[in-house]
Assembly symmetry: C2
Homo-oligomer: 224 residues x 2
């Protein structure tokens, strides 16, 4: 019985890692669809999002069932509580990837991202992917040293968002619709980074027992 | 002991309602600061946000402690699990109000919202406030009939976001910076409505035991 319980707890972590993997793929494909104007790929990302949602619902049910059945305490309890928050962040990251794909689909066949911002958007997506993979490693190995790297990637993402938004404000040659889309896109990528940071902070709670959203700094979006 | 436990559970609900109240005030004040160009009020909303964050951290600690100490099952367990998700949504709603105030501060003394969109923004804020108050009533009274009204308010918020973004795309006379700000603002209000919907859905889980994020529809932002 005890052994089955430990195996159930490991499955919760595996489920989180699977979700992170699905989100990582959605992010890469959404950005590819966006930058290459690949409508079919955008449709696939949008259609795949409910699978990520379903994974969250399954994970939540398992975690609540374990809370009810095993009355865990200490680290096991913290793992389940943190997992409920992490599943929520991962589900939301999936939504954000789908939002990127929705922009790709809406603007098709026009490119959503003007030529001069393509490299910045590609880099934002890359940073989001790195932060997500690192967050997954922090979850798997409870390696809080790596957590600092996720915060650094997020800071670079924030800087890029500022850079793009300032270039838009100063620049010309944009259509109004392009500005709306670019503003949303850089916000989606920036939020992905925020969620990766939330993930590793919750591993901090799991390991140290500090507050579930430790080091919360109130307003999480940098000012333009 | 049993009585103290029931009182602790009631305090969790009271804490959620207090958080909802703080967020409701932040929303009203942020919108007032935005539309009236009131810099001091914007500063106050920004400075107050960490108090909402602190309330979340306290509520989470209490909920985790009750999970550990009382090993609740059935409705009590669901209440604590749902509360952990709801506190997270309320904290995020507080952030969104602070983001509105940040836009007000950044654009001051220029008005952030062009004349022709003031009524729409005021209405989006009003709808967000109504949805939040109704969500709080659903939490307090577990009245799922009222939940439908929250979904309706959210649908009207979504429609307004579409309306404004289409007017921006077609219109002229905007500066690039105004388009960036307006896009962010309507997104902030729209997300507030989404979170109100999440709150009432979690009361659904509490009452019925259905999944924690029941009726999740995948991509929660309407397409522009």
């Amino acid at each position: 019985m005890r052994e089955a319980y430990q195996s159930d707890l490991r499955h919760i972590v595996d489920d989180l890692l699977d979700m992170a993997d699905l989100v990582g793929r959605a992010l890469e494909e959404a950005t590819q669809a966006l930058l290459e104007g690949d409508l079919a790929l955008a449709e696939r990302v949008i259609a795949a999002d409910p699978h990520i949602d379903r994974r969250q619902i399954d994970l939540d049910s398992k975690a609540v069932e374990l809370l009810a059945r095993q009355a865990p305490v200490a680290t096991d309890l913290r793992l389940l509580v943190a997992s409920l928050r992490m599943s929520s962040s991962l589900e939301r990251m999936g939504d954000l990837c789908a939002h990127v794909a929705l922009v790709a689909r809406r603007t098709h066949p026009e490119p959503a991202v003007p030529e001069q911002h393509r490299a910045q958007i590609a880099r934002m997506s890359e940073l989001g992917g790195i932060a997500l993979r690192d967050a997954a490693r922090v979850i798997a190995e409870r390696d809080l040293a790596l957590a600092a790297q996720v915060e650094k990637d997020d800071a670079e993402l924030d800087d890029l968002m500022l850079e793009v938004s300032r270039e838009i404000a100063r620049g010309d040659g944009y259509t109004n619709a392009q500005i709306v889309d670019l503003t949303l896109l850089i916000r989606f990528y920036e939020r992905l980074g925020d969620h990766a940071v939330s993930l590793v902070r919750r591993v901090g709670f799991l390991v140290t027992g500090d507050s579930l959203d430790a080091y919360h700094d109130g307003v999480d979006v940098p000012e333009f």
